[in-house]
């Protein structure tokens, strides 16, 4: 049992995404992972997004850092390339994903299957909180484009 216990003295979850912007829905997944399955969550901002982004990676990193300034178990990084490569690079124990809907479910399942086939890495799923499930970064961006107050959707 010793080696097992040692191995998992620190369980690292990789939570990767665009986070353009980081919403309350994202924060909820991170917080619940810390309360259950992760000793540490690495929030990794993908910076090679081909979709046009609203915020620069630096702006996104800054906003997320502000959210977790007192939470030592969360670290924020940017990355390029495949998520599975980055996961291996940082020694992540698993990928963390929130699932809001059937559409999310099928999308995440396919990505998770391919990631396992490629590198053996597992994906752990947490159901989104129902009160947050309807909000995505893209809806928040659209509201911002119409000068709407989106503070209720941001952490």
């Amino acid at each position: 049992m010793n080696s097992t216990t040692n191995k998992h003295a620190t369980r690292i979850a990789l939570f990767a995404g665009s986070f353009d912007p980081f919403t309350r829905g994202h924060k909820d997944i991170v917080d619940r992972a810390l309360a259950t399955v992760a000793d540490k969550v690495v929030i990794a901002i993908g910076i090679n997004c081909q979709k046009k982004c609203m915020l620069t990676p630096e702006e996104r990193a800054k906003a997320i850092t502000a959210v977790y300034q007192d939470e030592l178990r969360v670290s924020i990084h940017t990355y390029t390339g495949l998520t599975t490569d980055y996961a291996q690079q940082i020694g992540a124990d698993f990928l963390l994903r929130g699932v809001r809907s059937i559409k999310d479910f099928e999308y995440e399942r396919d990505i998770a299957d391919v990631n396992r086939q490629l590198t053996g890495i597992e994906t752990i799923i947490i159901f989104s909180d129902p009160t947050l499930a309807s909000v995505s970064s893209s809806i928040v961006r659209e509201l911002i484009s119409y000068n709407k107050d989106v503070t209720k959707y941001l952490p």
Copy 2:
């Protein structure tokens, strides 16, 4: 960090079900949880099933015990009552569930939401392996009723 680290020195996942019978699909979820998010998995056999069962709780417990005889991180129990009550009783950190399909997804999401509302306990999801996703205990039972060889579906 000390208290946090201590708290999670042993992360306990509760994997509850009828397991009538325990399939390779069930075993796959347990094994992958041990490799990622759990230091210990408690397999709990619900014995108040209203659906008619093929195997007695004792037969099911015996079969699962045989599977994990050399795995010290797994323990097998039977329980009655609500799963959330049993989870609190054994100090489980979270409920563990495998999800095979859209139908499973919606079913598990509703149960997980209610469980959180009742006791705060979280549910962690692992996608079933695609090669095992089509097999359920009920299909295995039906094959057995026709005297088919189901060893490929059992661990």
Copy 3:
């Protein structure tokens, strides 16, 4: 326009179900229908349910009546037979249904299609509130069977 306005001076929605028991989710649909599409909602308790019921039709009617004792726009009845027959009998303008999930969606769509084919009656759908979508009467019944406090799920 006169005839049209007259015809719809009172729009009657028929909200039929088992209501065993009537939950906050049911109440939410009725209230939102009254705020938007219905002048009057007839809550009709089907009393020929083949599934074993927890409450008698009288108990259910009494509980729902208590909820709406000050709401003149809601009336509570029991009925037997096909819902479409009852709808014609009371002169309902449409059937009202809440939809919580994909499973509900497909079930309600099929019933609504057949009802239209049989009698021409339309079905109007309101999405369940996300905070109430995971709770069904059957989950409430199960919680009650374990002596759990379900007041948060009842109106």
Copy 4:
């Protein structure tokens, strides 16, 4: 009861979309809403679509106007900005949407949830007629691009 009856003497449904082009499926939803839940339907053509459109807003407005030239309960407008803002501006009682599929269902549910959170406005759903459910404006546009006869899909 008086104030209630007065308030809803005219129930206004807002049916907003791109309508590029307006199909028989769209017309079916408007007609069925008029027969059940709406005294008046405002068809609102969004003119800030970022997707490239086949028809100009004027062409679309003209085509829809021709369909409803003898229907006094329907008015056709163009609008910019958020649909919820436009709904408030015209005093709409609710948003009207047709749902054809699971994909539509999840999309509309998320939009409806956010709209309620932003302004309190409700969304009322009608299931698409099965014979029209497979046709979307985008399929019609594609058929037109191949010089196919699409009159069967247009009102």
Copy 5:
């Protein structure tokens, strides 16, 4: 090419089910299979249904036989046991199934996967006609139980 052509001189599709009763939806699948992929369709009535049936197997066989009395490419049989065993017994080239909905899709996919794993037999799917997709044998039975005219749903 000779052997291949010979082998498939007669392609036999097995269309198995309860057919309690055989609906227009069932007939539509058989007819479309004959027009595309099958030289012969064997309609096989499962007679070990555990659900209580409305019609006896003989009544069902008689009704289906009447439908296809002039169609030499269709034969009607009853069977017991696993469908895959019966398929091998009659030399079926594939199982034929209609799919009406997401729920059907997942159900049929799981059965098809298991059937392939057991015996290698393939399952060929035809989408139900949208105008027939909402009608199932169970809805027809319910309508009959209320003395409704169901001739429009029967072939």
Copy 6:
């Protein structure tokens, strides 16, 4: 029976797509169709794709040709225009499609319905093999863009 048998002496399935690239999932559908419902499969590469392609039509045709160099029952072509027009041009008996997911299911159902309405042509569905269902051409393209080894996904 003679004319019928003659008509279907050679059943031609049209399997149309972008095939950018042609994956093991595509090959699996072709092979299983040949084993069950088709005497001949025409693989047709659509060359008017508006999405930017990784491979030229010639490169795709060459790769697929190499896969089937010893299979006389498969022919590879490129085409422009609507798939239904091409199907009529080559005398295809039906369109062949694989379905991997709910998302695929709804997409294919809508296209199949419209195709039937336009020309009467039928679409025959085969469920993707579970081990191949998570891989799409777009995922393969993304892996290639990161210089990953994708040979396991290619035939």
